[in-house]
């Protein structure tokens, strides 16, 4: 995790930026992230992921005021536009897949301001040698 002093410095720097500049900054950070070894994607999958990352960067850059109408809900973001929203993510997912079956539509909790992070505490398990 980032130290609080680092976060404070970043917040002070970001406070001076316009929403467009914040979006550009997030894109720059996303683009500079190293590709993990072992992950091989087809060009189609890469395009899908890139577009999802772009939609996510757009949503993370939204102000609190823009999120308020969707508080407690999930939003579907496509081409930098909220195309649908619902309290029930599965219901939203089903509608989105029906309307845009082959397009990368971001589904995200409206209040989310950064990518989710999960933890797996268990070390790698080893099978018994035959």
């Amino acid at each position: 995790m980032l130290e609080e002093t680092t976060l404070t410095t970043i917040r002070n720097l970001v406070a001076r930026l316009t929403p467009a500049e914040r979006l550009e900054l997030i894109r720059t950070i996303v683009d500079s992230a190293p590709i993990q070894s072992g992950q091989t994607h087809t060009p189609t999958e890469d395009v899908w992921r890139t577009q999802l990352a772009d939609e996510a960067a757009y949503w993370y850059a939204r102000s609190a005021a823009e999120r308020v109408p969707y508080a407690g809900q999930y939003v579907a973001v496509f081409k930098h536009t909220v195309v649908d929203h619902d309290l029930d993510r599965r219901a939203l997912y089903v509608r989105v897949r029906q309307c845009w079956p082959d397009s990368p539509v971001l589904l995200i909790e409206a209040t989310t301001q950064q990518p989710p992070e999960f933890t797996v505490l268990s070390p790698l398990r080893e099978r018994v040698k035959p």
Partner: protein, 126 residues
């Protein structure tokens, strides 16, 4: 439902059989799933997700016990464990491993009895 511990691991691991389903009805399984209370999320091999033609809806990060972080994709599906179907479960697609891991986002919806001495897992929903 009861299931024997997986003794291909040492020490043996609690495990159950699950079905993965799309909201549209397609399904894959039964699949062997490891019970891991140390995992925040459920992790599914990408091969199983590909068989369902699933596409990710969001990305995120996965951190290990030692702090390493890797980028991951999130998928949405229904998971059936015993006679209980959990709708709209967020799962991580695993592009490297071949283990299906049931994390706490699923386990916390179940009543689990891990009978270690008997090497038996019992799952119930109520």
């Amino acid at each position: 439902m009861t299931a024997p511990y997986d003794q291909t691991y040492s020490p043996p691991l609690p495990a159950v059989e699950v079905m993965l389903r799309l909201p549209e009805g397609d399904r894959v399984g039964p699949l062997h799933a490891i019970i891991d209370t140390g995992a925040d999320a459920t992790i599914v091999p990408i091969s199983a997700l590909t068989r369902l033609s699933l596409r990710p809806f969001q990305s995120g990060f996965l951190r290990s016990a030692w702090g390493e972080r890797r980028s991951i994709d999130l998928y949405l599906l229904d998971i059936q464990v015993a006679d209980l179907t959990l709708p709209g479960v967020e799962v991580i697609g695993d592009e490297v491993g071949d283990e299906l891991i049931l994390g706490r986002n699923v386990l916390n919806k179940l009543i689990l009895l891990l009978d270690g001495p008997a090497l038996i897992t019992t799952v119930s929903s109520h």
